[in-house]
């Protein structure tokens, strides 16, 4: 642990897609227990930023350090014990079972030629249990539904047990119940074991519910970074998404946790205005 107590730190970080700058001059410190949401419309660099933080993409400028040591100085395996990522898309070109996939999360925890030990198996089983997949352990991955695959990816991350968890669209394919239960589980984990959670999402409400801080990307190099309440205003969201978003106050009994607002597109959000009712659903109410 570095003197400043920061797990992950960006100084003057800049990232680009080819020659197109996505983000410039980002100063960001992630501490144990933090949860940061990364928002922005399509193509603004949310995924590229996550990949950069995972060491999979080189920043175009700036400094990136993990526990006080430059990210580039970390070896792959040691880095993978500290930083884990769940990708937006899951590829499975070669066949594998659910258990085999989760056990891959234990890969960074032993040498390449070692076999998984009892502890690795227990961790993997616990991860499957937490994601409600234990009864599917011997199933082929390609026979799973989209939501089951997403939970499997989260279970593999739990088995990997990194200090910094990076999630790209964690709510993908998940129904509302699993979205909340899986993110709550990861969020609780940041409180208990001092890890940190960063996730990119299109779901403003999901970010508002779990994140203290929000990084709102504009895609032209500019960004907004601040507490969820500071960043998630109607004005900023309109600016970022090019569409009017209303922040409606939530009733007291469901305002916690989160900003206390529910974000919905305004009636005038769609350029052509709301479509007139077709009458298809007004038959026999």
């Amino acid at each position: 642990m570095s003197g400043t107590g920061e797990l992950l730190a960006c100084r003057e970080l800049a990232i680009a897609a080819g020659h197109r700058p996505l983000l410039r001059g980002l100063d960001l410190g992630i501490r144990a227990g933090d949860c940061l949401g990364i928002l922005g419309c399509n193509g603004t660099g949310k995924t590229t930023l996550l990949h950069t933080l995972a060491g999979l993409h080189a920043p175009s400028a700036g400094h990136l350090s993990l526990q006080g040591r430059a990210l580039a100085e970390w070896t792959g395996r040691a880095l993978a014990r500290q930083v884990g990522i769940v990708f937006q898309h899951h590829t499975d070109e070669m066949p594998a079972t659910v258990m085999e996939t989760v056990l891959l999360g234990r890969f960074p925890h032993s040498r390449a030629w070692q076999w998984e030990n009892r502890h690795d198996r227990e961790v993997a089983e616990q991860a499957l249990q937490q994601m409600g997949l234990l009864n599917l352990a011997q199933r082929q991955v390609h026979s799973l539904s989209g939501g089951e695959r997403q939970r499997l990816a989260l279970a593999a991350l739990l088995a990997q047990a990194p200090r910094v968890m990076l999630l790209d669209e964690p709510g993908n394919h998940l129904d509302i119940g699993f979205q909340l239960s899986s993110l709550s589980l990861l969020r609780d984990r940041t409180h208990t074991d001092g890890s940190a959670l960063l996730f990119a999402t299109h779901d403003i409400n999901l970010a508002a519910r779990y994140c203290e801080r929000i990084l709102l990307l504009k895609g032209d190099g500019n960004f907004l970074l601040g507490t969820a309440a500071e960043v998630l205003t109607e004005e900023h969201l309109h600016d970022a998404y090019g569409c009017r978003v209303r922040a409606l106050p939530l009733p007291d009994d469901i305002a916690e946790p989160g900003t206390g607002y529910f974000y919905v597109p305004d009636r005038a959000a769609i350029g052509s205005g709301p479509t007139p009712p077709t009458g298809a659903f007004t038959g026999k109410a």
Partner: protein, 327 residues
């Protein structure tokens, strides 16, 4: 390692031993164990002993080593390209070897020269594909695959040119080389060393292979140095293929199908799949060669024909069975 993995590997060892015994016993002249035992200690030997020692043992060893090399290479190519249709020859190694071998045959050169020319051809193909695929730095599976397939097509054209401009008996021996033939194949300690080195190197990265098989990005995020691993895999698989092709020409089907058979039988973990492939690939080619020698004896079939005749139905059966299980 789980229990069914031990059982699988145990069965494959028994299969290898059985295939050896079968191969030594079968051929145009039947050899029985008692006769062999009787002749073994006689000073001047006997015909049966000579046949076994001079002909069948070397040929069986050649078949086993070639099959093992091809199956290992197939496993690696399929992971490297993340393509189930990949086989040891897909990146042009066999094409280069064939052009070398056919060139030597055309010049009327004999056995060892043909092998050396084949190896030279294979090595130049490996270098050409690697050079072209890595011209722009980063090589992804699609770029490598396309480069390999196009270079392969180039070799194919050259092979056809050689065949079209040659006449008579020379074409016959060229065709036998192309279909893969073990009749004059001999292996020495060098070939075993390549096989063993390949197995050891691949076994050390077997867990990384497990990760790579699930996607390059995923492997990188788990700490695998994917750039270095891919280069290692490319050269290891290529050298394995080149060695196999040098021994026996381009025998088809083994490298494509053996890895899939084993995956369908539950050996998806590369720490099991790699040794299992070597064992099954070797045994499979030994058995196939046994058939090639006996089906229309004393005439011999090219073993490449037999690998397909046996392999196609067996593979389809396993595929069908496993499909029923998962659905």
């Amino acid at each position: 390692m789980e229990r069914h993995h031990y059982i699988l590997l145990g069965c494959l060892c028994l299969l290898a031993i059985a295939s050896f015994a079968l191969s030594l016993a079968s051929g145009s002249i039947p050899v029985s164990l008692p006769t062999l035992m009787e002749q073994w200690w006689q000073a001047d030997g006997g015909m049966e002993r000579d046949i076994v020692v001079e002909l069948r043992i070397p040929r069986t060893l050649a078949a086993f080593v070639t099959g093992a090399l091809l199956a290992l290479s197939g496993v690696v190519m399929q992971v490297l390209l993340r393509n189930p249709l990949a086989d040891p020859y897909i990146l042009g190694v066999s094409g280069g070897a064939a052009v070398g071998a056919l060139g030597a045959i055309l010049l009327g050169l004999g056995g060892a020269w043909v092998s050396n020319a084949a190896f030279l051809g294979a090595v130049s193909s490996i270098a050409i594909v690697f050079g072209l695929a890595s011209l722009r730095g980063e090589w992804n599976p699609v770029r490598l695959l396309l480069t390999g397939v196009v270079v392969s097509a180039g070799w194919g054209a050259l092979i056809n040119l050689l065949l079209a401009t040659t006449s008579g008996n020379t074409v016959q021996s060229m065709l036998f080389w192309l279909m893969g033939d073990l009749a004059r194949s001999r292996v020495d300690a060098g070939h075993f060393a390549v096989l063993l080195a390949g197995l050891v190197i691949l076994f050390l990265v077997a867990r990384s292979l497990n990760a790579l098989a699930r996607g390059e990005q995923l492997a990188a995020s788990l700490g695998v140095n994917t750039g270095r691993l891919k280069v290692l895999l490319y050269f290891t698989a290529s050298v394995l293929t080149a060695t196999a092709v040098t021994v026996a020409g381009s025998i088809g089907f083994v490298g494509l199908v053996i890895p899939h058979m084993l995956r369908l039988l539950g050996a998806r973990d590369h720490r099991v799949l790699l040794p299992a492939s070597a064992l099954l690939g070797g045994s499979f080619l030994v058995v196939a060669d046994g058939f090639a020698r006996t089906i229309i004896a004393p005439q011999q079939l090219p073993v490449g024909v037999v690998t397909a005749i046996i392999g196609v139905p067996v593979f389809l059966f396993i595929l069908h069975r496993s499909h029923r299980q998962t659905v």
